[in-house]
């Protein structure tokens, strides 16, 4: 019985230490060190929260870059993967359908190359990033939809591309939401420039 009581009291002591004090300490220090990130790295446009830097969102309009497919349709509570195996007919059908859709959206012939990551769903269903190749693939479509020259997008993509972390870890990648935000900014700049020109010519 003595061991039972010690067990009970030990559980209380260790619960207070590891279940209360420790997470609160991390929360406090985290708030001090990286306040924006611990609250979900939210991205705002004006006052409006438009998403999180780390969570993919569904983009369907031709004028935006599209993220990787999501098996859970970009749901966040809870997100999900297909968990389809390497000999799954369902997965094969999905890949074929995605390929057909992408070829059509990009006005490409049936034998054109499509970056494989755009045909296969991510693990989290919320993969916020693409490889530079998968971004390049979409440039003609996005440029055409927005009435931009592909060259105008090149600088944008270049500055949005992150190399391997510490020069070594992971592969080069582009955050899709940040790229689309930059796209809107570019358009806004051009728009105000054009308005400025119009203003000048009217004078």
């Amino acid at each position: 019985m003595n061991e039972f009581l010690i067990a009970l009291r030990s559980l209380i002591a260790l619960t207070l230490l590891t279940g209360v004090a420790y997470p609160l300490l991390v929360t406090g220090l985290g708030q001090l060190a990286n306040a924006e990130a611990v609250q979900g790295s939210l991205i705002k446009r004006g006052e409006q929260v438009v998403g999180s830097r780390w969570l993919a969102q569904p983009f369907q309009q031709a004028g935006y870059f599209w993220p990787r497919p999501s098996a859970g349709d970009y749901a966040t509570v809870a997100s999900g993967a297909s968990n389809k195996g390497p000999t799954s007919k369902d997965l094969l059908d999905k890949i074929k359908a995605r390929k057909a859709d992408l070829l059509k959206a990009h006005l490409l012939p049936a034998d054109a190359f499509v970056p494989p990551e755009l045909l296969m769903a991510s693990g989290s269903g919320l993969d916020p990033e693409l490889s530079p190749a998968a971004v390049q693939f979409q440039v003609p479509r996005v440029a055409h939809a927005r009435g931009l020259q592909p060259q105008e997008l090149a600088a944008l993509i270049q500055s949005a591309t992150k190399g391997p972390q510490l020069g070594l870890l992971g592969a080069p990648r582009v955050n899709v939401l940040e790229l689309n935000m930059a796209l809107l900014q570019l358009e806004q700049r051009k728009f105000s420039l054009k308005q400025g020109h119009q203003h000048e010519s009217q004078q």
Binding site: E3, A7, S10, A13, L14, T15, L16, L17, T18, G19, Y22, P23, V26, T27, L29, A33, A37, V38, Q39, G40, S41, V49, V50, G51, S52, W54, L55, Q57, P58, Y74, T76, V77, A78, S79, G80, A81, N83, K84, G85, P86, T87, K89, L91, L92, P116, L119, M120, S122, G123, S124, G125, L126, D127, S131, L166, L168, L169, G170, N180, L184
Partner: protein, 563 residues
């Protein structure tokens, strides 16, 4: 594989090996009751725990008293966690107003976290309140890991001790594991993860309006603190359902690299600690070498398989279920690490891996979680194989087997065999049951041989206290939750109890002087023998079922067949 991929593999292995002597030496000081460089800060914390718990740290008992304390502590931890999960709707820190967990899932979850398995039949963000996560799961993340470490320390004392009756004090080993090892490392890792963008918040889920005008809910929670101990304590239960693939759990390649290191850090360093505890560093290095040979082979084969292409899916690379920021190389290092150590967290979906890499993840667990394995659990597990190896070596040369200068006799060999056979029997029997019953087959997400692999993976993971999954299988049905809970219970205590018996028996034995007939257990030959015994036992037990699952699927994939 590109040069940069090789470089990442090499850096991972080098950093892991560099940490072994440093952390191993430190943990030896902790378990020998010595002062460490952290004692001025942590000593008062340790004494505080003893004061609240009513523990006299200088008490020492026999193996029965030690086991009694351990069992009570685990039983109470299970009940407390179960209570939290069932009552969370009526408790604070539940901003999303989540309802109580269903009974079967709650029993399965409480058992899972108490046994250091961390199998999950739920998704955290849609099921668990912040209080359930931190006060329930978070605490068991710490103490289940510390329980494993305590058992390993007792076994080391029993093997090294000469005619002693007492083996130490469970409460001291438990508390020192938490206070001196798990807590400071977790704090460091949690802060590193926060710097990379892992969330740590008690706010309700904010809502966003996406650029195209849709609504997106952003799940939050005190995640960083829990993820740190989840990796360091070989727990593996994700704060979010999709585990370490979720960008909020693992946002960058650096957060990923640190977590991969954390998975293997303590299990690897404990080999060094063990060497110190039994008074011969070589005895620990030999175990590390055997683990290294098996881990290296598994990693090499998995990389080779996963960097191939899939003829059944139009010769595409294996990218389904993988994240862009990790790529194939970091997904494979993770899958091998997490299944060798009984961690079970995933940063890519094992269900969608190539048949061979997925099959190797399965086989890693089938080896009994002794190659690194769970913190403490892996080491006491491989020591069961050591006992079987000296027995077999003894049979070959016709001498009575000895280990660390003491005779190994029938009673110990029976216990070691029991510890090896029990989890394996559970895997095969429960898998057979699931395959034969409609309720077992109902949850399948894949057809053909891959379906068998899904069920086999589930029971292999649970019975070996790993916790990873071929996640397609629907496991929140009563059949899988209740049977799974039983598998995890047997897998944990079906090993711990024989280990404690062996520790008690060995402690009382006299030392026998080494003679010409003594088989040395601290050299290269012993490494080869130990590796062979582990592979032969694992292979003979599971080869038939592996042939029906991943191996036949590999052949069919090469022929371009889909199901």
């Amino acid at each position: 594989m590109a040069f940069s991929d090789w470089l990442q593999v090499a850096l991972f292995i080098l950093l892991l090996l560099a940490a072994v002597p440093i952390l191993g030496e430190y943990m030896a000081q902790v378990y020998q009751g010595q002062k460490t460089f952290l004692s001025p800060v942590l000593g008062p914390l340790e004494m505080g725990v003893y004061a609240v718990a009513g523990v006299n740290p200088s008490d020492s008992g026999d193996w029965k008293k030690y086991t009694q304390g351990l069992l009570w502590f685990n039983a109470l931890g299970f009940l407390f966690l179960l209570g939290l999960l069932l009552l969370q709707a009526f408790l604070p820190l539940n901003p999303q107003k989540l309802v109580p967990m269903e009974l079967g899932v709650a029993v399965n979850t409480a058992m899972s976290f108490m046994t250091n398995t961390n199998w999950q039949a739920y998704s955290g963000e849609s099921t668990l309140s912040y209080l359930s996560q931190m006060l329930g799961l978070g605490v068991q993340n710490f103490v289940s890991a510390a329980t494993g470490m305590a058992v390993m320390v007792v076994l080391a004392r029993g093997l090294a001790g000469k005619q002693i009756k007492t083996l130490g004090n469970f409460w001291v080993d438990l508390t020192r594991s938490v206070v001196y090892i798990l807590l400071p490392l977790s704090l460091l890792l949690a802060l590193a993860l926060v710097s990379q963008g892992v969330v740590q918040s008690f706010s309700a889920y904010p809502s966003a309006t996406t650029l195209e005008g849709a609504q997106q809910v952003v799940p939050l929670g005190p995640a960083a603190s829990q993820i740190a101990i989840k990796q360091l304590g070989t727990n593996g239960g994700g704060f979010f359902g999709i585990n370490s693939a979720h960008p909020f759990e693992n946002p960058t390649p650096l957060s990923n690299f640190l977590q991969m290191l954390a998975i293997l850090l303590i299990p690897a360093a404990l080999t060094w600690t063990y060497g110190r505890l039994v008074g011969s560093l070589r005895q620990g290095i030999v175990l590390l070498a055997a683990m290294g040979v098996l881990a290296g082979s598994s990693l090499g084969l998995s990389l080779w398989a996963e960097f191939g292409s899939n003829p059944a899916l139009g010769n595409l690379p294996f990218l389904e279920g993988k994240e862009t920021r990790f790529g194939i190389v970091n997904s494979v290092i993770w899958s091998v690490s997490t299944t060798l150590a009984s961690n079970g967290s995933v940063n890519a979906m094992h269900d969608s891996f190539s048949p061979l890499a997925g099959g190797l993840a399965l086989f890693n667990m089938m080896l009994g979680e002794v190659v690194f394995g769970g913190v403490g659990a892996g080491l006491y597990g491989i020591l069961m194989f050591v006992i079987l190896t000296v027995f077999i070596a003894g049979l070959m040369v016709g001498r009575s087997p000895e280990y660390l200068g003491k005779k190994i006799e029938g009673a110990q060999i029976r216990m070691a065999a029991l510890a090896v056979i029990l989890p394996s029997a559970v895997v095969l029997l429960f898998t057979a049951m699931a395959v034969l019953l409609p309720v077992g087959l109902k949850g399948l997400n894949n057809a053909g041989p891959h379906g068998l692999s899904e069920i086999l993976y589930a029971f292999t993971s649970m019975a070996n206290n790993n916790g990873s999954a071929f996640g397609g299988l629907t496991v929140n049905t009563p059949f899988y939750t209740w049977l799974g809970a039983l598998a995890m219970l047997i897998g944990r205590f079906g090993v711990i109890l024989p280990v404690m018996v062996i520790a008690g028996q060995m402690a009382q034995k006299q030392a026998v002087p080494a003679s010409g007939g003594t088989f040395p257990t601290d050299g290269g030959l012993f490494v080869i023998l130990l590796v062979s015994v582990i592979l032969i036992i694992g292979g003979l037990t599971f080869f038939p079922v592996l042939a029906l699952g991943p191996l036949v699927e590999h052949g069919l994939m090469l022929q371009g067949k889909v199901f």
